[in-house]
Amino acid sequence: MVENRPLLTFFQHTILIFGVLLVVFPVYIAFVASTHEGRALTSGMLPLLPGNRMIENYNTILFGGMRQAGGVPVALMLFNSMVMALSIAVGKIAISLISAFAVVYFRFPFRMLAFWIIFITLMLPVEVRILPTFEVVANLGMLNSYAGLSIPLIASATATFLFRQFFLTVPDELTEAARIDGATPFQFFKDILLPLSRTNIAAIFVIMFIYGWNQYLWPLLITTDPSFTTIVMGIQRMVTVAEGQPQWHLAMATATLALLPPVLVVIVMQRLFVKGLVETEK
């Protein structure tokens, strides 16, 4: 703060409080709705304070599911989402680490070509190649499987670039020392580079976990079997009912459960999250 202007400070807090309300209000309302009886929501005004049906509602949805949405228990959806998010995050980190290692620490023909092929993935989001990608996955027999949910998404240009940038800052003296001591490239990677990359790996993990958890179009395309429904896509079936009102109290309980894991990750690992976000993009 350059100078003391109490009025300006007051104004700033007002704006920020408005911002926080804007951000938190929808989540709060969803939570409140998830703690009431279905009837309380459909008859007139929505209550603004939590009700007393929280345990019943979450119990119903977690283990019974919702009939309109195929009756898949939300616990299973959460499990599917968790498997998908973790496989994507771990897969992306693993293959990006080894590709960055290859590109930085070796001189070999077609090195730049390989680099460009990886770069191209940035230009081809799923949204622009929906049908042909679906065909490939179908031909490989990967529809309705965890492999199909995760493997096609684990190529990562951003993670590869980040690890590459980081490896370039590792002093050459370390490599020389390792070589003099007779370390193989693999030993150097495992015993020196990996431990040095710990913070970067953690930061990327946070970002990629959220990315994987929040996937929507992809699971929608390649799962037809309801038992592979992920929670983020499952919510759609609960709120788009042909006639009448959806069972909002149950849908909002599901929405709360769907946003809880990534929100917790962001809040608990805030510093790593910010680092990962700002560095992967630059």
């Binding site: 202007r5 300006l8 400070t9 807090h13 920020l16 911002g19 926080v20 951000v23 929808p26 989540v27 309302i29 969803a30 709705a33 603004l48 293959i95 080894i98 590709s99 290692f101 290859a102 620490y105 070796f106 090195r111 092929i117 191209i120 993935t121 940035l122 081809l124 949204e127 622009v128 190649r129 929906i130 049908l131 042909p132 065909e135 490939v136 096609p152 190529a155 370039l168 490599t175 490239p185 150097f188 959220i210 929040n214 179009l217 395309l221 983020v232 919510i235 759609q236 709120v239 788009t240 009102q245 909002w248 849908a251 946003l259 929100v263 999250f273 910010v274 700002v278 993009e281 630059k282």
Partner: protein
Amino acid sequence: MHKRVTFKGFAFPLALLAPQLLVTLIFFIWPAGQALYQSVLRQDPFGLRTTFVGLANFRRLFADSLYLNSFQITIFFSIAVTVLGLVLALLFAVMADRVIKGANGYKTMLILPYAVAPAIAGVLWWFMFNPSIGILAYAARGLGYNWNHQTNGGDAMTLVIIAAVWKQISYNFLFFLAGLQAIPKSLIEAAAIDGAGPWKRFWSIVFPLLSPTTFFLLVVNVVYAFFDTFGVIHATTSGGPGQSTNILVYKVYTDGFIGMNLGSSAAQSVILMGIVILLTTIQFRYIERRVQY
């Protein structure tokens, strides 16, 4: 920038690259090639015969009023999402940058929506604006406006814009805050000593120095509005009512996946590919000055 000290070998580094390259070739480059190939073909309605039609699919698209309408809607939607998202986030970031007490609390709350999937963000706002039970629809009625996004296209568009902006505020906020904190305090102090007030300081020093960040965010937000908002639309309006929120990515999906119109969907994919390639190129040309690959 290259390493001075490297290892020898050809097979080993190639084996290290293999998983990434295989996934990219099988799930990215091959399907993209297929989309290009199918965009010049046309199938008969029963899928029995396929003929080469050249650019006819593209010509048909640009003569199709539904497609042109979807294009217009997408452009309006992207501009609205980008401008609103940037303005709000910049406002919050400037305020959070100056405030000392409680700054971290505000920051933690403001980054929360980043973690929420676009589809979930859509459903949360959809619920609050629900014409019969939503709290905001109720408030709108109180102000004399009869909100109904199920029948009114304008209301539906407003709803998806709000949901899309809400989700993106955190991202913009974090980048603006990082940009603001990189501005040397001495510049601001010098201006303050010369008698410039906060308003003047912002427009003549802070805002120009932020322009690289703003430009970067501009591109990222347009890409977001074009491609990542599929979930917002699909989970709430489904493109309706009456095409009013049928943005391009949603149309590709419905035409190809539900309407099974392969040629047209492939041509739409190719056009979207062109847009995303253009935007990514702009983004990387600009970043290249600071980061060297």
